[in-house]
Subunit: 419 residues, 2 copies
């Protein structure tokens, strides 16, 4: 469920200048030199006649270093305190980036999550944004300042610091852009845009000039990894044009918009998620509502489940299998075991040797040739398909992790995505 | 002028437990091991039946490292952004210390300056505390939590982050203790307490068991350096007992209270301030209010002046000399030059080769033997006295910096402070 941004609908004032929200990730601000370069880039964008709000992540590996430090003190640090600690990472980057912009002689101000009114839910380490009070940001923009906002962080109703979890800074950027009714949100990263497959895995992957929210959402949630799904969902909800582009060059990037009018190619991209695991609960007594009970227990534990398969082995018992992000495996197994104990299922098994390979594109579901070409390619290359799931715009298969990368390249070629 | 702590006078509830505020400086929390040791110490104090609030500084050299990082980006970083940056240092220590206490199994919560309601003036890098809203701290204490507070930081009326400048964490600790009406404020440091001279300069310096606010204030402001004068002034104003003790052992430390009843030794201690400089404005036209004008210009620039001498050379013109902290020299010279230009004085000179040597003790001013023994000792050792100033409890001399350390040891011996 995407974040809900309640922003007071201001009287539509004449806006002489566009509002642009830019987001720079940790690698883009990973050193003093990089911060200076990003500063120049931001100033250029402002001098071109825009009001600019910049969302930044923590420098380079700062967050990892802070996590290590915490773990040396407490192997299981309290989430609330972890958020207090991690939020310092972005607070350092906003102040340094503001200092860098100041040397160019342009008015600038940094704001923490608390200061720019990012209110979140109370779930530490993976809070969701509830509302953004843009009063302070708008006041500073009106005063001609470039506004630098700390990504990844907010505050809950008690004014305790929260962090947004994976993809947090992207989500901050889109939420701030939505609340400000910005004209565009630009996500700067270390690649040139959204590719039709991960270039690290598929050498002939091509950059897309334009893609729809729905398509990039499937790409992202299936592991292409450029943008976090939360941020794309949020952009779609507010019809906010997203641009993904490199912070190292002036290439055009990929524009992500509501409807993709160029439907020549049905298969737009291919995605591989290797960071998943499969959990199976064997011989679950077949009673009404029993699957719902399992999945609500998992939801309460904040575990996102993905592909679900239910097999009937014999009368009155089912095997229930589902996939989760590999990082959630331990938590998910704990919940599954508790569930198995409560409903008197036979046992819980898990498998980390799986990967999910998917093709994405508007119209896939209505075109049987696509499915057959996909499955045929896997078959010809000796890849065993364990599970299939489909949606309007994607088709996913669960396959052996060992075979996954090769399979990805073959499927990429089969759909001529390398041309 | 000491900070003013406006705290709402709560109905005097029965307090079954004492409230103790402890302050640990940067060296006391300078490593993972030290943080763990401090955590155990804090828990012991709570288990002994107290409610404990702990104020901490940034770990070790963190603040210096952040300043270096800022200077690599901007040789003259904006004060507001510097405060955003520096405040992360304490935010890291509070979260880590809370994590360390949590491993011992004791409820604990960390609060930033903003979260524990430390409201300050708007002068970045050297803000003064205006008020503390203790609602949050008291709520957490009532819930049985140890409360860890970030020292050195607060927020101004705009909710912008401010820092308190030199001695900031001591001031935070005393202000929090005063606002909570705490039973004591314990300042943990790397020495055993307040000594009658700086042990690094005078080998036979002795630790004092008890000293009055007034005396320690003179010691501190004259460079003995254990406690910042702001914190002592504040403690005196609120009649709050201060304890200075080592974070490395269980020695008793020094108790600082309003009246010192043990007046056997008139000279209680000796202090040397080497970090000062003298500024002279030559041939200032002698008009009413002209000195006031200079000193109000200096006050506006937040420059604290110390010894003041006015010499009349010839009719209608004076030379005005004063001393300032060496760190303020550049700013002070700028102000002095502006003043000299405005009033048509002849020129401005400055001298960094001076130091201030002082003796401190209740009753010094009423005992002429003291002054003569002090001056005689300096004279016998060939030390030239440039300026003298006295107060109720101290007598200071401005002497050559080169001769100062030797002179200090001789004066220490002359008053039998080494016995």
């Amino acid at each position: 469920m995407p974040e809900i941004i309640k922003n007071i609908d201001k009287k539509s004032e004449d806006r002489h200048q566009k509002i642009i929200v830019q987001k720079y990730g940790g690698t883009s601000v990973g050193s003093v030199e990089k911060i200076k370069r990003v500063a120049r880039r931001i100033v250029e964008r402002q001098k071109a006649g825009n009001r600019v709000v910049v969302v930044v992540s923590a420098m380079g590996k700062t967050t990892d270093d802070l996590v290590d430090l915490a773990n040396r003190i407490n192997p299981n640090p309290p989430s609330r305190e972890m958020d207090v600690l991690l939020a310092t990472g972005e607070q350092v980057s906003i102040s340094l980036l503001a200092m860098a912009i100041e040397t160019i002689g342009v008015p600038v101000i940094s704001l923490t999550g608390a200061q720019c009114g990012i209110r979140t839910s109370d779930v530490h380490k993976r809070a969701r944004i509830d509302a953004i009070d843009t009063t302070r940001i708008e006041k500073e923009l009106a005063a001609g300042q470039i506004v630098i906002v700390a990504g990844f962080q907010g505050i809950n109703d008690q004014r305790d610091i929260t962090t947004l979890g994976r993809g947090g800074s992207d989500t901050s950027a889109v939420a701030v852009a939505a609340a400000l009714k910005a004209d565009a949100c630009e996500i700067y990263t270390d690649v040139d845009g959204v590719f039709n497959a991960d270039p690290r895995m598929v050498p002939h992957a091509k950059k897309l000039n334009m893609i729809s929210y729905e398509e990039v959402l499937e790409m992202a949630s299936l592991g292409a990894g450029v943008l976090h799904p939360r941020s794309v969902e949020l952009a779609e909800k507010f019809d906010l044009p997203l641009v993904v582009r490199s912070s190292y060059n002036d290439n055009e990037g990929t524009l992500i918009v509501r409807k993709n009018k160029m439907e020549q190619a049905i298969v737009k991209g291919i995605a591989l998620d290797e960071n998943i695991a499969k959990i199976s609960i064997m011989e679950v007594p077949d009673k009404p509502g029993i699957a719902f009970r399992l999945f609500s227990m998992l939801a309460k534990a904040n575990i996102h489940i993905d592909m679900i398969v239910q097999n009937t082995n014999r009368a009155n018992v089912n095997d229930i299998s589902f996939t989760v992000n590999a990082d959630d495996l331990q938590d998910a197994v704990t919940v599954a075991q508790q569930f198995a104990f409560e409903v008197e299922a036979q046992k819980v098994e898990f498998d980390k040797g799986v990967a999910k390979l998917s093709i994405i594109g508007t119209g896939i579901v209505g075109n049987p040739d696509i499915a057959s070409r996909f499955f045929e390619t896997l078959y010809k290359n000796g890849v065993n398909i364990r599970t299939i799931s489909t949606s309007e715009i994607k088709m996913s298969t669960l396959i052996d992790k060992e075979a996954a990368r090769d399979a990805m390249v073959k499927v990429h070629e089969a759909f001529e995505l390398d041309r």
